[in-house]
Each structure stands twice: as structure tokens, then as C-alpha cells.
Amino acid sequence: MRNHEALQGQDPGRLNLWGLSVVGLALLAGLLGVPVAGWAEDAASASAAVSYRDIPQLGGSRNIIWVVAQLHLLLAGFVLGVPIFAWLCEIVGWKTGEKRYDKLAKEFTKLLTSSYATTALFGGILLFLLISFYPKLMTYLTDIFFPSFIAYCGLFLLETATLYLYWYGWDVMQEGRAKVFHLFLGFLLNFFAFFIMVIPNSWATFQASPVVIAEGSNVARAWAATWNPTWWPVNIHRLIANVVLGGYICGAYAGVRYLSAKSAEEREHYDWMGYVGNFIGVFGLLPLPFAGYWLMREIYQYNQQMGITLMGGFLSWLFILQAMLIGVLFLGSNYYFWLGITHRIPGAEAKYKKPIMAMLVILLLCLGVWMTPHSLVASLEEARKLGGTHHPLLGVFGVMSAKMTVANLMILVTFMSFIMYWRAGKEETATWAKLARAVMSGVLGVAAIVVIVLGVWGYFVPAIVRINYFSVAQVLIVIFVMLTITPLTALLLRSARTTTEMIWGRMPPRAGYALVLNAVMVILLMTLMGYARSSSRVHWHIYGVMRDNSEYAYSPALGYAAAFMSLNTFLFCMLVAFIFWVATMGDKAKAGHGAMPAMAGGSPELDRSKAH
């Protein structure tokens, strides 16, 4: 049996070695291919002074970089988001003693090993392409960031070693202090991953918001360039977005497995996994608009030109598309919660029909405001009747005060959806339950009113008051609601009596599709905002410092960009599907040979204990 277990343990290792071999071969091919990449280069300029190279036959350097960079970033987001997700699940499993959380964490860590190799592969390709296509820019950036390049390599070594220990040590570090050490490894994994994210962020944000670099040592210059105005806002925004991406992709994976599940046990498990994925996605989604708002504020403050280009200029349509995608995401996440209430908790449909309708109406009203542009698309005749393209009444919905208000309200509604789901099927027996419910209703009602009042008042105060005080107050109020209602609900439910047991595995197929839709929306959002962030530099490689003098210095039309966003989303989904397929191939074979699990990456030890 031990030999059998040992063999089972080796499967992922083989897979990983195979993956690393592919990376190695690809890197070698990349190295050999570098000279070829310069075939479009003018022979006369084949010197150190070359600024650009191109492969027009493959669609041009910009488009190639666009696809590769976006795929690398999406993979990186997944690879950095999943460890957070896995580690949180492992902690929950350890604290509650529920082994299924531990199994879930392990299942996703297994996917991580193959995703990690693919991410590194795309990172290598991106680097070679950047050096080949943009030698002048890369020379400049290397000159500034040389020390952080080295630190980045060092972090990669640490992250890789930690990942190996974390994954291969899973089964042997299950009990007592060993488990605590394993959890510490999970912390280290995320710690290193965070810095692996923030270092390249400094390169990208320096391009968008460069600062004056003082004379000094290499380290001092790199340090000064790293601390540019948009570095931390991007770090925080991406960190939260990675959690969202990891959660929703987990949900999508569970959704697909749920749709193809053949046994009741599988349906039960993947239904539960879908719930956890959606929950973590929503958990990250709630603070994401705040982080985005802070980022845009910093961009606008850094440079009015860039702020207006993004928020009011030729890129502003992207924010209407963003509203649409975020709206679908909010609706999709809530829909999944509501489906959970009506299908997993028998008899709950009638009780929660009215609250669900109320929440749906609020969400749609908010979304309507969020999606209303400041200036409208109108025919000539319509514009004449309007007196321009600004509507005198609905035009007020087109600016940030309205958008911020409805975003906060949508967050409140989504939070309450979760609370409702949490409380469904339970009867609160505490003597103070009535008082607690009244307090919660009061807090929620007052918070919603204050958020709306601040939103309306925001039109009548100087912009800086609205930005620095009103918007911040709105965010703090929403956070206060969450911090008040969550512990109160937890306390109430501690003594609550379960009236209707939650039944897993009863969700309809559309719940699985909703999970897939949410993941696709998040990926589309990331490709959309990736284009926005990159295009806001317009014709500059480094804003205001190094001008783009290539033939691709123009900004692509929005329709053209949208096609690339869709392409990148599709390619990423295919990549993730491939990774999932490869990573679970061995388990299917095992399951076919009579070994346990219906789920990928299931620990043999845990499976046996469950079987007994």
C-alpha cells in the first residue's frame, strides 16, 4: 500500500517535470528564435541603436505583445490568486476540522503546479519578445530597474521551492505541528507571491506614472522609480482582483464538473465547491470597486491628461462596458446565491421570493444608473431634441458621484444576499434575536440612506470634498455595515435551530452555467481594464519621458481592441481548460482502476478515512 501511495504521490511530480521540460524546451526555442525575430529589421540598422523590431507577417509586434502579455497577466493573476484561495480553505479546514476544505485546497494546489509552469513559460516568451521588439525601451527600463530584476529572480527561486514543499508535503504534513508548519508554508507561498506581483507592477506603473529619478546608486534609482504614484493603488487593486479571479475560476471549474457529474456524490461535492468559489469571488468583488476608485483617483491626480483620457476621453466608453460587465457579475453572483436558497433549502422559495425581488429591483436600478453614460449615443434628430448629447435629467447619472453611490448600494445588496443565504433554513432562538434583527435592519437602512444622501450632496460640493470625504465616507459606511452585521449574524446563528437542512447537489444546470459566466466576465473585465491601463499612456512608452515612435504609436479603435479582448479571453479559457484537463487526467485513470476519488487531487489518506 505504501508503494502504491508513493506511486500516487509521484504522478504530479512526473507531470510537473514534464511541464518544466516543456518550459525548458520553449525557452531554448525562444533563445534560438531570437535572431529569427529580427527578420523584419532593416539590415542597415542592425546595431545597438535599434529601437524597434517587428514581425508584420504575424500581425505586428504590438498585437503579439498584446496577446502574450495579457495571457501572462491572466495566468499570473490565477497563479497568485489560487494560493490565497487554497490557503484560506486549508485554514478553514484546519480550524473547523472539516476535511473537505482541506481536500479542496489540495485540489487547487495541484492545479497550481501546472499553471505555475505555464505562467513562467508565458513570462519567458514575453520577456524575449519585449527584448526583441523594443530593445531601446527595455535597455532604458533595465538601466533603471536592474536591481529589482535580480530581486525578482530571487523571489522566483524562493516561491518555487516553497511551492514544491507545500504541494509535495501535503500528505505528510497533515497532523499536529507538521500541519501548522504546512500552513506556514502556505503563508510563505502567498508572501513571496505578493512580492512577485508587486515588483513587475513597479515596472508597469513606472511606465504610466514615472517619477524623477535622483542620481545615486543603482538601488537608490530603482527604489525611487518603484515608488511611483500608481504603484500601491495597482498593487492593492491587482491583489484583490486576483482573489476574485481565483475564486470565480474555481467556481467555473466546479460548475463544469457539476454539469458533467455522474454520481450523487460528485454532484454534492462540486455543488459545494461551486458555492465556495462563488463565495470567495464575491468576497473579493465587494472591496474591488473601492480599490479601483482609489487607483483612478491617483491617476487623475498624477496627471489630469491621463485622468481625462480614461474617464472622460476616448477611453471612457470602456468604463460603460466595464459597468456592463461588473453588472453581469453582480447579477450572476446574486443569482447563484438565490438559486442556492431556492434549490438547496427545500421550502425556502416562498419565504424569500419577495426579498429576492426587492434586491433584484435595487440591483437593476443601480445598474441602470451605472450604465448610463454622461453623453449619449443619439441620432441627429434625437440630439437636436436633447439639445446636445447630454440629457438634462439623466445626465447627472453619468458622473462619479452617481456611479460611486450605486456601486456602494450594489455591494450592500450583494452582502445582504449572502447574509440571507446564511440565515436561510435556520430559526434564531436567542432571546435577543428580535433586538439583533432590529439593529441589523436599522444599520442597513440608515447606511443606505446616508450613502444616497452623500451621493446627491456630492453634486453640490467642490470635487475635492466629494472625492476626499464623501466617497471615502460612503466606503467606510458600507464597511461598517459589513463589520456590524457579519458578527451579529454569526452570534445569532450560533444558537440557532436548523429548521431545514441544506441539501447539496440539487442545483439546476443553469447554476453551473452561471458560475462559468461569472468567470468569463471576470476574465473579460481584466482584459478590458488591461487595455485601458495600457492605452492611457497613449503614444508614450513611458508617459512624458519616452515617446513611442513606432508605426504602432496610434491608439487602436475600440472595436478593434474589443476583438483582442475577446480573443485573449477565449485563449485564456482554453489554456485554463487544458491545464485542468491535464491536471485531472491521472485522477480519472485512478478512478477507473477502482481507486477512490471522484475528485481530482483527493488525498488517499483522507479518502480512506471518509470511506471508513
Binding site: Q305, I308, M371, V377, A378, E382, L386, T389
Partner: protein
């Protein structure tokens, strides 16, 4: 009541359409078709979400529609109605395709106007003229002479305003100059419509290029007078 489950959503959709199309123009400007379509699509999404929450509601809402389309157990009038729908549907698609692709003499839809981003040399400017009552008064005087014929009493309704499309900006609207920094206004006044940036061309602006008539100091004073007269404050970061 049989069919009641479809009646309410249908009434909601029709009612909203009538309100947006014919009701709103009674008290404000009409809504463009693009916005009406957006709101109706949101409503439709809401109906679909609500009606598919449970198996029972989904069956009672979509079941009859699916059965009608599949033709299960139909005869007589229902059968004819189904055939009519199946015949009309491709015709509807064809008509829509024709109307959206056929050449027309009607001018194209108004492109959504966007705020042009100021050139770099203007973006970083700050008002060098002290904000004193005297300077504000001088600015208002200059405004009255140069700007009010079009922009009126800061509301965009000057005597000449009706001759322009798009109309002159309404500075009292909290979504115009209150959202902008002073340097943005300086650029727009100094360079006018012809000085707009190339991004997003062609622009439609009849704003004169005042740099030939006014000194920079006078422009800054006009900006102060404009904000004061409109009851607005410029965007600042402190």
C-alpha cells in the same frame, strides 16, 4: 388566470417603453433610442432572472413558450399561430438586417462626444492670478464682454446659443466645469475649438480661439469669474 404569469412581465416591458418614449418627454428632454433599449434590456434580464429562480416558476414561465414553439399537441388556431410566428421570426431578422445595412439618406447617429484630454503643457498648469474679489469682478466683466453672448448667465443660454449644435456649455450644471481643473478651462478658452487635440477627431466646437484677443492673465481672471458666477468650485487636489 391562465397566461397571467406572462401578462405582468409583458405589461411591465410595454409600460416602461411607453413611459420612456412618451412619458418622459412630457417633463424633460426625450431619451435617445440607445438608452431606452439599454433600460429595457435590463428589465428583460431582471424578468428572466426572477422567473428562472425556481424550477416551478421557470416551468410556468418558459414551459408554455417552449411548448408553443415545439408545437406539442397543438391544433387549430394555436397551430396556425405557431406557423405564423415561425414564419415571421426570420422575416423580422431579415428586416432588421436590411434596415441596419441598407444605405440611407439619414445622417449617422451622433458619435458620443467625449471630453478631450488637455495637452501635456496645459495639464500641469495652475492659476497664477490671486483669487481676490477684485480679480473675480474683473473676470466677470471680461466674461460679460466675451463669453456671455453664447454662455449667457453661466447657464449656456446666451442670445447666440440657439445657433449652435452642440450648444454652449452650461457652467451651472454640476457635471461640467465643477469636474474640471482650472488649467483645463484655460486650455479650452485659449485654444478654442480649433485647438482641440487630435484624439477622437473630428470635434464639433465653435468655441473661438481667444489667445489672439485675450492675454493669459485675462483668461485666468475669466475662469475665476466663471466659477464664481456659476456657483461652482474647480477640481483641486488639496
Amino acid at each position: 388566470m391562465k397566461g397571467g404569469i406572462h401578462l405582468k412581465p409583458a405589461l411591465l416591458m410595454v409600460g416602461l417603453y411607453i413611459f420612456f418614449k412618451f412619458g418622459m418627454p412630457l417633463f424633460t428632454a426625450p431619451l435617445p433610442a440607445s438608452l431606452i433599449m439599454l433600460y429595457l434590456m435590463l428589465t428583460f434580464s431582471g424578468i428572466m432572472i426572477f422567473m428562472t429562480l425556481s424550477g416551478t416558476s421557470m416551468e410556468s414561465f418558459l414551459g408554455p413558450i417552449f411548448r408553443f414553439i415545439s408545437g406539442d399537441g397543438q391544433d387549430g388556431t394555436m397551430k396556425m399561430a405557431r406557423l405564423a410566428v415561425l414564419a415571421l421570426f426570420p422575416l423580422l431578422v431579415g428586416w432588421q438586417t436590411y434596415t441596419s445595412t441598407a444605405s440611407s439618406t439619414a445622417p449617422p447617429a451622433e458619435n458620443r462626444t467625449v471630453h478631450p484630454a488637455p495637452p501635456g503643457e496645459f495639464a500641469a498648469m495652475s492659476n497664477p492670478v490671486p483669487n481676490t474679489p477684485e480679480n473675480v469682478m474683473q473676470g466677470k466683466g471680461l466674461y460679460a464682454a466675451y463669453c456671455s453672448p453664447c454662455h449667457g448667465l453661466f447657464d449656456g443660454k446666451g442670445p447666440a446659443s440657439r445657433g449652435f449644435n452642440p450648444p454652449p456649455a452650461n457652467f451651472k450644471d454640476p457635471t461640467t466645469i465643477a469636474m474640471l481643473q482650472e488649467s483645463y478651462l484655460f486650455w479650452r478658452i485659449k485654444k478654442g475649438g480649433v485647438g482641440l487635440s487630435v484624439e477622437g477627431m473630428p470635434w464639433k466646437s465653435a468655441m473661438p480661439r481667444w489667445e489672439f484677443e485675450l492675454k493669459d492673465e485675462q483668461i485666468w481672471k475669466i475662469i475665476m469669474g466663471e466659477y464664481d458666477g456659476a456657483g461652482q468650485k474647480p477640481r483641486t487636489w488639496e
